[in-house]
């Protein structure tokens, strides 16, 4: 069974600071996705990374897929209160019918 471990599980920082969230596995994934979930809502897809070493930027968010396709990171520059939420990584094998999700990182940005 493939597992994804996210760290840290909880992170609370001040507005304007930078942060990095990690998603690690001992398994190789063909691609990896990041989602953000706000209270009372379902997760929303932020990005999909598919190539080892790939870096994608979404405004102040930078996503990286590890060279060996076993890990990924999410870096937020100059965090804002609107970035508060639960961040989930998810991955799967090529051909898999379903994704495996990490347990999530709960991020709180304080004003």
């Amino acid at each position: 069974t493939q597992l994804l471990e996210q760290s840290p599980q909880f992170l609370s920082i001040q507005e304007g600071e930078n942060l990095t969230v990690y998603c690690n596995s001992s398994s190789v994934f063909s691609s990896l996705q990041w989602y953000r979930q706000e209270p009372g809502e379902g997760p929303v897809l932020l990005v999909t990374v598919v190539t080892g070493g790939e870096v994608k930027k979404l405004k102040r968010l930078t996503f990286q897929f590890g060279d060996a396709r076993k890990d990924s990171s999410l870096h937020i520059t100059a965090a804002q209160t609107g970035d508060t939420g639960l961040y989930l990584c998810a991955g799967g094998d090529q051909g898999a019918q379903k994704l495996v999700f990490g347990q999530g990182t709960r991020l709180t940005i304080n004003p």
């Binding site: 691609s31 989930l88 379903k98 347990q103």
Partner: protein, 114 residues
Amino acid sequence: DAGITQSPRHKVTETGTPVTLRCHQTENHRYMYWYRQDPGHGLRLIHYSYGVKDTDKGEVSDGYSVSRSKTEDFLLTLESATSSQTSVYFCAISEGPFSNYGYTFGSGTRLTVV
């Protein structure tokens, strides 16, 4: 413009009663999934469907059954609800099976079994 709706949004039920949750999509996506979300466990797959009448078990399928008689509807049934099934349930849809396809999630159903 939701594309995917879950009903009901909230439900309180008694132990031992059957409960059915509904997921409805307007995107004509082939793949549909039911997850439960609990603190410290993230999202865990209960059942999924890869077509009408084609379903398979996920990692936490015990005590749950599903049915998909139409492309747009995926039903999750708790045959005899237990307190351990108190959770938030999410339905998701996807265009294709590969992990490159993003999932679109519904807003969830908060189920409390008392």
